[in-house]
Structures are given as structure tokens and as C-alpha cells.
Chain length 324, copies 2
């Protein structure tokens, strides 16, 4: 870790190497899948890094495990806590369960039931809040004040970003000569980890972020040159509603080539296409990159592109293409 | 191939080795996935051989490719034809497309639209029949009479069984010390291929077949000691409605340890459980083995069990747990 002029603690690639050693017993090296059909459709060579097949069904188990297993015994005894729209919650619950320490999660009451069930299944305690960033942060402050638990932020935490960075580290070792990597952006944890790894060991690889048009605060921030945060955007890509924070903004600002957006229909169509053609279950949030690739063929045509499928925790009873 | 006293042409393991060399350029060596959750739930160690991730979305591309690429140039020029409830149809269409020869498919008019679309997408021609074995065979006789195409039966064909046998060949090389393999049974092509491989190279591995209770003709045949065929059974496992024939009965009779059945609800529950926990899209037919394992824990507990996920071609607009 280094500290910059503004007092921001920034993880380095040394932290990524340490994180990877620390978390290896608790995560999968997830497979990279390809689809001839999708390659022909896009004109690109797409390499899908399947974090939907990760422990707890999402990449977030990497950062959560790095935080949990890096705690001192004394800190660990007081447990961990977080607020999350879903996958970080159950990933932290999984990691805490692996270490045998308590975990409390503040979660919007509107979060998918599948995610709430999974948190409880992993032994986590849920405290509900309203579905806005403001309510979430207020409720959470109370919870931590009472328990003294260690706060593991879902993305704006150098331990978490160092953990997420192990995903791109695997991808770069699994696929040679990538031209670009594209990942969804919400709070920016996965993108920041990707930036950290790629800028360190594969600096020629371009990094693109994909965002729902309905929650396009990161794209607007990127153009404006400062963080813009929306309080309660509405999108089917429920993992991507949260805003950038100072640490993730540091990585986005310095290392991302561009941020593209996709509409709700484009996201749902891309999701269904992946389910149908690749035979994998993944979340709406994970479909935003393919939606963006299909919408901007001139950027990706002829390129070797790593596409991060961030998670697979979807409520099978309410699939988005079956609504109405 | 050998010919028995009744004039039945039976493939040998030599044919399997030849088939594997012949079809390798056109198929995937599919991955084996595991799930800690499902292992804990069943008390067994389950190794899921994911033929849903196979080319054309099903194991049937193995047998179809072996038949198509084994044809002489003269035979190939007249094309191939088949009748099939779905996956063999699109697998044969895929294989014929790879060789660049014509393919005609007789298919029940009630087959899932997703499967019809896929056949057409691979360049196949569809001729529709009524959803009964009788109608299918009558319609097909006409088609072959007119075109002179080579008939590639979906399962009762030694070339097809030698091709399907490459799936168990891969599985045995991917997972050490299996105690048993379980696969769905319809016409018996996959089970016969499994019997052929396992009896040749891993004779201590037990072979179990899993069948819908609503289409339990193979289980009844197994108990009776002769083939019993139902004309038009109704089950959500639409790949498993067809009856055993002489060649598949030969393998089932000689090498299968037992055949277990599962109800429609048990099949649907097992299917949803696999989607939810393993994050893979697979067909109702492919869920029958897990349904059977959950129903007969005493048979599988403590055992290392290969479970063949036969296909992933499901209509995403009509998922069985969302009906009513």
C-alpha cells in the first residue's frame, strides 16, 4: 500500500500478489469460456472470465476473502460488517464463515430474495435499509457503532481492490495477447482491481467499463472529470447502482480508456443471448459488457477481448425477459 | 464392429477409439464441474460432465459427427436424414454443416421452438410429424425413400453409440477412481456408449440409468427382461420419451446395474437446483440423474459419482418451474 498526497491509501501490485496467496484456498481459479457464435456475431474474439462460477457466485468473494483473512485475531473476533446491494454481502458472509467469525450485512429491503437467502445460508445477519445510498450509509453507521465490527466496504477499500485484482491476474495468465478487458462498472471495485493488475503487468491492454444507461453516474463522472453520484438509480443490473468513491475514482480516472452505456433492453437481450448460447446462468449486471460490445462493434472488431462475467446470483423466479 | 448371433452389429472399444480421433476437430472435451453444496446435500462426491457446454449444446454431436464423418464421399453427397425429439436433430445438422452436406430432420410439431430454430440455424431442413413414435417413423420412411439420404438413427446405430461412448472415455480420464456413472435414459444411446466404454476400460464402475416416471419404459423393460415401448409418453424431460431398441437394449441388459425413476416435480426441482447452485443452463432431461440421486441417497452416499449433464437446449421463455 502507498499513501498519496491526499491521504488516500492505494494498493500496489505487491498487495495483489499477497492477496492471491492469502485467498487461494477459498476461491476458484474460474474458467475462461468462448463462444464461436458470439465471436462471429461481434467480429471480436471474446474470452469470458466466468466469475459466476466463483465461490458464492461472484468475483466479490476475492476482495471479501482478502479483507477477512488479513484481519488480526483481535479484529477478527469482533467480526466484520458491510452494506451491499447483494454479491459483496454474500461473499463477505462466505469468507467470514470460512474463518468462523461473525458478519452483519445492511441490505436494501428491495434486494433480490435469492441474495438475502444466500447471505442467511452462509450464516450472515441481515439488517434492512431503504433502497438509497443515503439510507444505507445511515443504517450502517448505527450497526458498526454498536458492534465494533470491522467495516469491509464493498469496493472503496484497498484490501478489497487488491483482492478483486486477482481476477484480471488470472485472466492475463489464462489468455495470451489480450487487446482489451471490459467489465461492468458500479462502484468500480472490479474495474479498479483490473486497472491495478493490468497497469502493472500488461500495460498495453486497454480497459473499458460498461454501465447501464439508467445508472450512468460513472460515465458522467468520467466525462466531467469529477465524481458524480446518483442516490437511487433504477436498473435491472442491480449490482451496478452504487456510485464511485475516492479510491475507485483514482483508478478509473488514471487507467480506464472509456466507459460505454447500454439501455435496459440491450442489457436484457445480451443476458438472454449468453444464457442461450453459452449455457451459463449469469446476472443482468454481467451482461452489460456484451451489450456494449454489440452496440460499439467498431471499438472491438478484430480484437482479443477479455469479458468479465461478474456474477451468477439471479432470482430464477423473476427473469427479466419474462416480466410483464 | 462385431455381429452377434442375431445379426446385430455391435460397436467395440476399437470403434470408440477410431470415433474419438475422427470427431475431435468437431467437438469439445467438455469440463467436469463440482459443487460443494450438492456434495453436502447428497453425501456423495458428484462430478458433473457438462455436455450442455458441448457443440450444438448436447452430447449427441459426438455420435452424429462420427456417423457423418465416417461416410464415403458418394454416401455423403446424398446427405443424411433422421428423426429426433430435438438434440440429435440439431447435432446432426451441425455435423452435416461441418462437412457441407444436406440434412433432413423429421421432428414432432410439438418439439420446443428453440430446438426447431437451432436446426434451421445450422442449415437443416425440417419435416414435421405428430408427437408419437408411430407417426414419426411413418413420416421418416417417406422422407428417406424420396431423398436416398443416409439414415442416422438418434441412438440405435453402432456409429452413433461409438460416438456417444467418447463422453465416458473423457470422463474416466478426467476423474480418477469413480465408483459409478449415472446418465439419463431415453432411447439409451448415451447409456449404451457409457456401457461400451466402462465395460472396456473401467469395468469396476457401476452404471445407473435415470428415467422420468412418466416415461419409464426402460425401467419396466429392465425389470421384465424384454423391451417395452410406450408410444407417446408425456414428460417435461422431452429428450427421454423414446423407447429402447435392439442395439441399446443389448447394452442396457448386459451392463446396467439399475434404472431409477423420478417424478415430474422431482425432475423440475433438481433442474432448478442445478441452475441455482452450479450456474449452468441445462435441460429437464439432464436433471433426472440428480433427482434420482436425491431420492436414493443410500445408493450413492460416500461414492464418487460421474453425472452426465446431457444437454442445455432449453426454451428460456417457458421454464418448467414458472408454469401455471
Amino acid at each position: 500500500m502507498i499513501t498519496d498526497n491526499n491521504g488516500l491509501t492505494i494498493p500496489t501490485y505487491e498487495d495483489v500478489l499477497e492477496a492471491h496467496e492469502r485467498i487461494k484456498p477459498y476461491i476458484h481459479e474460474t474458467p475462461v469460456l468462448t463462444s464461436r457464435f458470439l465471436n462471429e456475431l461481434t467480429g471480436a474474439e471474446l474470452f469470458f472470465k466466468c466469475e459466476n462460477l466463483q465461490k458464492a457466485g461472484a468475483f466479490k468473494v476475492r476482495g471479501a476473502s482478502n479483507a477477512v483473512f488479513g484481519l488480526s485475531e483481535a479484529q477478527a473476533a469482533r467480526g466484520v460488517a458491510t452494506h451491499s446491494s447483494g454479491n459483496h454481502a454474500l461473499s463477505l458472509s462466505y469468507a467470514a464463515g470460512q474463518r468462523g467469525i461473525p458478519v452483519t450485512v445492511v441490505m436494501p429491503r428491495t434486494a433480490p430474495q435469492a441474495k438475502k437467502d444466500a447471505v442467511i445460508g452462509y450464516g450472515g445477519t441481515i439488517v434492512e435499509c431503504e433502497p438509497s445510498t443515503t439510507s444505507r450509509e445511515e443504517t450502517f453507521a448505527k450497526v458498526v457503532g454498536e458492534s465494533g465490527a470491522d467495516f469491509v466496504h464493498p469496493y472503496n477499500d484497498p484490501r478489497v481492490i487488491a483482492g478483486q485484482a486477482t481476477c484480471a491476474k488470472e485472466l492475463v495468465s489464462q489468455v495470451e495477447n489480450l487487446d482489451a478487458i471490459i467489465a461492468p462498472i458500479g462502484g468500480g471495485g472490479m474495474i479498479s482491481g483490473t486497472c491495478l493488475t493490468v497497469s502493472s503487468i500488461a500495460p498495453d491492454v486497454k480497459i473499458y467499463a460498461a454501465e447501464p444507461l439508467n445508472a450512468d453516474d460513472a460515465a458522467r463522472s468520467f466525462k466531467a472529470g469529477y465524481i458524480i453520484a446518483d442516490d437511487a438509480p433504477e436498473t435491472v443490473a442491480d449490482g451496478l447502482k452504487v456510485p464511485l468513491k475516492d479510491l475507485t475514482w483514482h483508478f478509473v480516472r488514471n487507467h480506464v480508456t472509456d466507459i460505454f452505456t447500454a439501455t435496459e433492453d440491450e442489457i436484457i437481450d445480451a443476458m438472454k443471448l449468453i444464457w442461450k448460447r453459452m449455457k451459463i446462468v449469469m446476472e443482468p449486471s454481467s451482461a452489460v459488457p456484451l451489450a456494449v460490445i454489440l452496440k460499439n462493434p467498431e471499438i472491438f472488431k478484430g480484437k482479443r477481448v477479455g469479458v468479465i462475467i461478474t456474477g451468477g446470483n439471479v432470482d430464477l423466479d423473476t427473469l427479466p425477459w419474462l416480466k410483464n
